[in-house]
Amino acid sequence: MTLKIKNRDIVVPGELLGTGDLLLGEGTYKRGKNVHSNILGLVDSKENFIKVIALNGRYIPKPKDVVIGVVKDISFSHWSLDLNSAYGGVLTVANGTDYFVNLDDEDISKIYGIGDAIVAKILNVSKAMNAGLTMKDRGLYKLSGGRIITITSTKVPRVIGRKGTMVQMIKDMTGCKITVGQNGRVWISGDNEELAVEAIKLIESKAHTPGLTENIRKFLEKSTGNKSSLQPKPVGSKEPEAESVESKEPEAEAEESKEAEE
């Protein structure tokens, strides 16, 4: 097995990554004995495993993802949600409430109306690419107050950070509640919303660079004049950023600062 590129290289669609026996992850494909990238992205290679992390791309709904949807249409028994995607989501009354709703008596637009933003979880994605959503889980609710920004969905793992450390740092330093949807919508509410927005936009623009956590920490410390309470990383330690892509615990993504995190 020979590699033609290094870890963290930026590669383009069609670019040769290596030859021979390699365990392949997302963003790669084989042509005979050769492995190529099929996306513009960052190489993540360890031992015999190689994948390419996309630098850009619109959100495509996946089961178990926690997302922020906006109600765009209401029918008799379900809400249609915009998911900031080519594909929409459907929330049935049964999945949208914890209590029994008598559809003969109730107008469900009184529960969630057009324009309401809600944190929901994707249960399944049909063949017709409709996402079936639920709110029946911890950390899923209708949002109010604060503000919503939209970032590229491929950058969401960097905003959350490994085991939620990046978003926790921003919450601490800005005094804000923050909910990050896998579909790129981020809800922020609290003391210094502007700073939180700046920090998140900074992560979005520098997502592929090394030492990101440290840079964001420095940015936040400089802007607030306070020191972060999180442990600084020892000098020379391996950057965890590349691994944060795999941390997808729903709790870390959907929680407010009030709820316990690991």
Partner: protein, 239 residues
């Protein structure tokens, strides 16, 4: 031989702009130049300047044209009214519709179309300044814009045109050469796959001339491919 005014296009073994027969015009490629578009690119091939933008995958409109098993690549090729000396009336004409069709097909062949079923990818190619070779410049820009948008593709596609002037095969005709040339051969090529994804020809060529023209164009595409790669990597280098 020569232009309609009887002037030669090749003098002392060189073209009027000093280029060798197999030499491309100066090329500039920049990726990620527009804020709203998911992916974008700006390309200059000599005096042809083109902007390409991609939105996708997005919801398909009109819905009834949606395909159940693959994406619809909605392609628009448009020349700005101010891209040519005699103002071009805005709106699609037959030429731009044909170019949009062959461009779309050239790119669909490398895009993972099944991965975006039931959605659309919008591709907009706008010619800001025209000096021959606008369709190939547009295709080169489109490929970069698609990659920039994060669309999955087997390979990048580069494009350029060769042609015949004064009975000689040359690469990358400029406006003057194209106006009075004897043949025009635009080619799009996926260098990594060794696949031709667009090929058109008009004029008169012998089989040998065609073979030479095709070889020139493919070599030109290989050079442009490296520039496309470089533009995309440069975009993320010093942010």
């Amino acid at each position: 031989m020569g232009t309609s005014k009887g002037e030669a296009l090749i003098v002392d073994g060189k073209r009027l702009d000093g280029r060798k027969f197999d030499e491309l015009r100066p090329i500039k490629i920049e990726a990620g130049v527009l804020e709203q578009a998911d992916g974008s690119a700006y390309v200059e091939m000599g005096g042809s300047h083109v902007l390409a933008a991609v939105y996708g995958p997005v919801e398909m409109h009109p819905r009834h044209k949606m395909l159940p098993d693959r994406v619809v690549l909605q392609t628009q090729y448009e020349m700005a009214p101010f891209s040519v000396p005699d103002r071009k009336r805005p709106g699609p004409d037959r030429r731009s519709k044909e170019i949009a069709k062959v461009t779309k097909e050239a790119l669909e062949s490398v895009i993972y179309v099944e991965d975006y079923a039931q959605s659309a990818i919008r591709l907009h190619i706008e010619i800001l300044q025209a000096d021959a070779g606008t369709r190939v410049t547009g295709l080169t820009a489109a490929s970069v814009a698609l990659a920039d948008a994060g669309i999955k593709m087997r390979d990048m596609v580069a494009a350029c045109a060769s042609g015949k002037i004064d009975d000689t095969i040359v690469l990358d005709l400029n406006g003057i050469e194209d106006n009075t040339g004897q043949a025009d051969l635009p080619v799009a090529y996926a260098a990594g796959l060794d696949e031709i994804t667009l090929l058109q020809m008009d004029g008169l060529m012998t089989e040998d001339e065609f073979e030479k023209g095709l070889k020139y164009a493919i070599d030109g595409c290989k050079t442009i491919y490296e520039l496309q790669k470089d533009a995309l990597k440069r975009r993320y280098k010093n942010e």
